[in-house]
Each structure stands twice: as structure tokens, then as C-alpha cells.
């Protein structure tokens, strides 16, 4: 065994992972090589010092700080989700705005058409030309005409009733037929 082989086998030597033959070769090399023996001794000292290093521990407020961070992260995550909901992508915003505008036009158009309110009318009174106004007034006129017609019919019926010959019903039936 040469010095390089000895150096390469050191860790397995400490871990007792060498075969008996390899182990004996290491011992034989140490006996004839003072440099490798010294190297072995130095490394064992270093490993002892490393094992003796103080164990650094987390500070007393480590967990408090951690849970504060967790709490604030959870809050931020919730805020981000709310923001994401209200602030979609720029394309989404435009589409949403366009959709809203179209909806407003349709809804307001329908409303004005239905109520007859002209845009710009300060008193908010129905416009005379609005279909609803016309419809309303046409309907009223028709109602008046209908009422008059009904009244005239009733009058005629009464007159006819008065002319019926109660003494001769068969004649009346023939007439009515």
C-alpha cells in the first residue's frame, strides 16, 4: 500500500468498512510511514474537535417569529386571492368593461323604451312620442270608444226589447231566428 491508497482509505478505516486484509495493509503502512501516521492522528483530532463543537440552538423567540411569519403569509395569501379576483388580466379587464358597457346600454335602452323617458329630459316626464305614451293614450281612446259602443248597444237592446210583442212570442222567435 502506498500513501495515496492509505489516504483514500482513511474514512473507510474509521468506519470499520475495510476487509481484514485491507485493514492490515493500513496498519503496516502506518508502521513504515510517519507522514501518514501523523495525518491519521491529525484527522482524528480534527474529528474530535468537530464533535466537540457547541450545538447552536434556535433562539427563545424562534417559534413566535415563525408563527408570526406563517400568520402574515396566510393573510397575504388571502389578500392576493381577493386582488386576483378583482384584478384579472388586462384582457380580462377590457372584456369585462366592454361586457358591462353593452349590458348597461341594453338595460338602459330597454328601460327608456319602456318608460318613455327621453335622455336629457329635465323633468323626467314621458315623451309624447314614446311608444308607451302613444300606446297608453291609444288604449285610452279605444277604451272610450268601446265604452260608447257598449252604451249604444245597450240602448239599442233596450229599445228593441221595448218593441217586442209580448203577446206574440212565436213571431218574436221567428224574427230573432
Amino acid at each position: 500500500m502506498d500513501c495515496n491508497e492509505y489516504r483514500e482509505n482513511l474514512t473507510n478505516y474509521y468506519d470499520n468498512e475495510l476487509t481484514t486484509q485491507e485493514n492490515n495493509s493500513m496498519l503496516k503502512h502506518e508502521a513504515i510511514c510517519s507522514d501518514c501516521l501523523e495525518l491519521n492522528s491529525e484527522i482524528q483530532n480534527i474529528l474530535g474537535e468537530i464533535k466537540g463543537l457547541s450545538k447552536v440552538e434556535a433562539s427563545a423567540n424562534f417559534e413566535t417569529e415563525l408563527y408570526e411569519k406563517l400568520h402574515s403569509q396566510a393573510e397575504n395569501s388571502l389578500t392576493d386571492k381577493i386582488k386576483e379576483f378583482f384584478e384579472p388580466s388586462p384582457i380580462g379587464v377590457k372584456a369585462l368593461a366592454a361586457g358591462f358597457a353593452i349590458l348597461m346600454i341594453v338595460v338602459s335602452g330597454s328601460y327608456f323604451m319602456y318608460n318613455g323617458v327621453t335622455i336629457g329630459s329635465e323633468d323626467g316626464m314621458p315623451a309624447l312620442s314614446s311608444p308607451r305614451f302613444i300606446e297608453k293614450h291609444e288604449k285610452s281612446s279605444a277604451d272610450v270608444i268601446d265604452e260608447e259602443a257598449v252604451r249604444e248597444d245597450e240602448k239599442t237592446d233596450e229599445e228593441e226589447d221595448n218593441n217586442i210583442d209580448l203577446d206574440n212570442p212565436s213571431e218574436n222567435e221567428v224574427i230573432s231566428e
Partner: protein, 192 residues
């Protein structure tokens, strides 16, 4: 849950946490905070940074609890997260150092050591030794530093280190050997 929690393995705890048991997370924190702070402190040399990184590690565990699958040991998973965060911090620090090196004075505090209960003389001696060893560990190339800390300070098995670093077992062993030899050279150069 602390006393009761001891009867659960790490893998049981993370499984309970995945099923909504928040106390299981508390137990994980209780179980791992000191060893992770020690691990990251030995890696970076700054206790405040180490604590921040370990807190970030637990935040990641909390947020990504379902990313853990019971195919590896929980310890290897959490050490991997902490190790990756520590390495990222180290790289950031190297970049910052490029810009601030001209402003560094001779008394620049590279690392801090925790207080101990030893006598003033013993304390001074051990602090000196610790500082030298810590300096030498930090002088090691990153891959050697990681294995020395995981094997010789954290005392993890080769299997665990192999899983954390995602390198074959033989590579871990050879890396540990070379890291120890390198550490010895560095300490010798520092007259230790």
C-alpha cells in the same frame, strides 16, 4: 402534543399534518429547529441568517406539505430544503461580497458563536478553537463543506446524505474522505 408527539415518527407527523393536524406541524418544528439551525449556522457562519433560513424552511414545509411523499425519510426532505436555501443564501452573499469587499475592515465579524457555561479561560480556548474550525469549514468548497457538516457535525448516515445530495453512496464516502483531508490541510495552513 410534545410528550405525546414523541411516540410518532417524523413520517407519522408529516402524514398527520397533511391530514390537517396543525399540532403535528408544531411537533415537527420542535423536533427539527435546533438541529437545522446548527446545520445552517455551520454552513453560513451567521446565527441570524441561519434562523431566518430555518424559518423559511419551515414555511416551505407548511406551504408545500403535500409535496412530501413517503418514499424518502422526512429528515432527508427537510435537510434538502434547508440546504438548498442555505446554498442560495451563500450565492447571494458571494454576489454581495463582490460589491462590498472594498468596504470590509479587518474587524469584520464573519461569524458569531453562541455563549457557553465554561470558565472564562476554557471559554476563550474553546471559542478560539471553534472559530478556527468554523473558519476552515467555511473555507471548504461548497460540496465538501456540505458533507462535513452533514456527516461529522449532524452525524447523518451516508444513506441519508446520499439521498439529500442525490449522489451515489460511493460518491458521498469519497467526498467525505476528501473533505476531511482538505480540512486538515486548511487547518495546518492556519497553524492549528
Amino acid at each position: 402534543m410534545s410528550e405525546e408527539g414523541n411516540k410518532f415518527s417524523d413520517e407519522d407527523l408529516i402524514a398527520r399534518f397533511q391530514n390537517g393536524d396543525e399540532y403535528a406541524f408544531d411537533e415537527i418544528v420542535h423536533r427539527y429547529k435546533d438541529r437545522l439551525v446548527n446545520f445552517v449556522f455551520r454552513f453560513l457562519g451567521q446565527i441570524d441568517e441561519a434562523e431566518d433560513i430555518v424559518q423559511d424552511t419551515f414555511l416551505k414545509v407548511y406551504k408545500n406539505k403535500n409535496a412530501y411523499e413517503n418514499i424518502a425519510r422526512f429528515s432527508t426532505w427537510i435537510y434538502t430544503i434547508a440546504g438548498n436555501l442555505a446554498k442560495t443564501e451563500l450565492r447571494k452573499r458571494k454576489r454581495r461580497r463582490i460589491f462590498s469587499i472594498s468596504r470590509m475592515g479587518p474587524d469584520e465579524k464573519e461569524f458569531e458563536l453562541p455563549t457557553s457555561d465554561k470558565s472564562p479561560e476554557e471559554d476563550a480556548d474553546s471559542r478560539f478553537t471553534e472559530k478556527i474550525i468554523q473558519t476552515a469549514i467555511q473555507e471548504l468548497p461548497e460540496k465538501f463543506r456540505t458533507v462535513v457538516i452533514l456527516r461529522d457535525i449532524q452525524e447523518l448516515s451516508y444513506d441519508e446524505i446520499s439521498m439529500i445530495l442525490e449522489v451515489p453512496l460511493g460518491t458521498v464516502k469519497s467526498r467525505v474522505n476528501r473533505a476531511r483531508l482538505k480540512l486538515r490541510d486548511l487547518l495546518k495552513a492556519m497553524d492549528h
